[in-house]
Symmetry: C2
Subunit: 447 residues, 2 copies
Amino acid sequence: MSQRRLHLNAFLMNVGHHEAAWRLPESDPFAATRLEHYVQLAQAAERGTFDSVFLADSPAVRADVGQRPAVGLEPTLLLTALATATSRVGLIATASTTYDQPYNLARRFSALDHLSGGRAGWNIVTNATVEAARNFNLDELPTHGERYRRATEFVEVTRKLWDSWEDDAQVGDKSGVWAEAARVHPIGHRGEFFSVDGPLNSPRSPQGAPLLVQAGSSEDGKDLAARYAEAVFTAQQTLNEGKAFYADLKQRATEHRRDPAEIKILPGIVPVLGSTESAARRKESELTDRIVHGYALERLASTLGIELGEQDLDRPLPDDLPGEDRIETAKSRYTLVVDLARRENLTVREIIHRLGGGRGHRTFTGTPEQVADTIEHWFTAGAADGFNVMPAVLPAGLDDFVDHVVPILRARGLFREEYEGRTLREHYGLCRPVNRFAADAGSASRS
Amino acid sequence: MSQRRLHLNAFLMNVGHHEAAWRLPESDPFAATRLEHYVQLAQAAERGTFDSVFLADSPAVRADVGQRPAVGLEPTLLLTALATATSRVGLIATASTTYDQPYNLARRFSALDHLSGGRAGWNIVTNATVEAARNFNLDELPTHGERYRRATEFVEVTRKLWDSWEDDAQVGDKSGVWAEAARVHPIGHRGEFFSVDGPLNSPRSPQGAPLLVQAGSSEDGKDLAARYAEAVFTAQQTLNEGKAFYADLKQRATEHRRDPAEIKILPGIVPVLGSTESAARRKESELTDRIVHGYALERLASTLGIELGEQDLDRPLPDDLPGEDRIETAKSRYTLVVDLARRENLTVREIIHRLGGGRGHRTFTGTPEQVADTIEHWFTAGAADGFNVMPAVLPAGLDDFVDHVVPILRARGLFREEYEGRTLREHYGLCRPVNRFAADAGSASRS
């Protein structure tokens, strides 16, 4: 336990994870397209020696475009701009395996890794909305199973492309040999979804391969994570659920012959901080009071695959819900919401307030000391290797966390005082992958 | 004529456009993946008040990977990094319509335009190598005609997506209306290659639409340019060819009911500068002497669709060439090389030396005064609206041009003393496009 340290990721989301954050007087409603807003956030995370910052993404406009900030710049480009404004913090971009091609995606993440000096990470998603499908020549969302089969093959192809140049393939011998062609490898991939000859047209990047991240918690999602993910973002409402998820995923990784220490599990936490408990509660109320119930009802109904109206606000959820196996979109989100409602016997209005903070992630309202306590508790109890910090309001919530929670975690010896490594993999305590095509790859160890 | 000004683009290519540039003692053979190298180039172009910098691209590794720098970072990411290191110069990235999806590409260029404050441009290419096709699930290159049909539809979809948010759709009214949903438009595109519902998930960018650039000179390429391009990069070896191309393309634009002034034509020029003519010739020889004839022969043979060996070096091209209509790859490149060889009765060795500088672009070796003279001559004779400057060696060749040629062009009143506008469109004297979905679009003029 003496060596084990927390990992912290800052999940950057416009003006905050609370759906009503944009309505606060201090929030800039147009921050989503303002580089200086994101520079401020990334620099705050770096000041707090966070392992990484992270951007979610979906290639479609939000259905509730009128009601809240519904846009976002393409994450690999935005993170490239942030790479030039920071020097250590990791940069994790979400990108879809359903609506892209491995060659294009492998190039973008290789470029981000080169341009940032080894700080790139890829959050692998399959995208669960029909709106996205209809931007890419499809009428309907491909099935959950098909999306995950494609995702698995996509990741395989991408990893091969990242290995297609051996580290020392570029020699730059001015007598006329720029590269050793024998150390630049075609990948010759032929599969169900992709045929890709390779090699990639950029040399192996500083990290060898960008960090692989996964965030879905369906059975297929957990299997993908167990095979490939090096960090996992997850929504867990209770310590017991968190411990069960943690144990399950580490076990699955072991079944794939991986060292369970090489898969870092980071539950989401939406901290709402105040110098006293009542100050924190007041801050929470400022947000809850600004939720527009009509829109929140529509969104909850869509998650659950049912109809809901104003008349349902003060009732519990109906008994006859469709069941996770009937849901083709975000299965794990469905189950989380239903479990939360049943466990705490919540009304629809109460569910909406609980979900307002971070779409099912755990909201924790309290003092910096209390937030540090819960983080330490989950970390030492075997429910987390760290946390995906999702401030309800940005930039203020991230500044508060960095200025008031991080110092406590450092004083307790749980979190780094300064960066020890230069790359994202080094921050997460992960090795640089061995290149499968290198002559000595068979004999080298993974760590 | 008093108002007409030159436009200059700096075509950034690793350590220079001459194929042997990397072998010079001063060249960094690993510059392709070094951000600081490209920052230095972009800042030099901005110091010279160039309209733009430009990156070529192909989603495949060069066939001659062993013999010369064969890699490049993905252009939209690299230009995003350069956006943060500059404030005025335009940023033009090449991207493929054959191997991408309009929604993904529209997002990346929208993001580059937002992040750069309105400096993004897209060089539309269809990609002409089977190596690229084989990285994207195809066995063979799609035909020239199919590639250009797809390109035309791709551009249409992309332009619709860029228009899908009206400029004032974001209102940010904190009473609960973040955007006027009625001003965010689905595009409902259904075509031969694409079905895209839209809208885009980012608001309209500072330029309304990134600048559209085109560079192929086949019949299909010229038609695409006449319809959509606002700047055209072209390879023209002689003034007469340049005048014919210029007149033809302006005429074609007129046939598409466009103002011919809204399509800027920039032939490529590879300047090899010296303070005297003989100093310039010596610099040229340093490069020519470093060409490896074996590799150059292979490449020429591939362009022409024939076999060539060392025994052909001092002979003219064979009489029985296949003809442009037999070429499915880069048709205009084929014709340029054949015409050059026939017109000047060149041997294969001489062709190789002439092409070494810039793959068929016009090499001009001389003093800054002589380079300025030829630029002015083409500009006033109706062969060019400006030039695509392709230094044989980088960064030195760009610095030389900025420090020694630009001042002459300014002194003659041909080129700006300082930037007058902030966006790439403003540099090229082009209007911000009217949004097709805006209520008043029908009555507004285009300029």
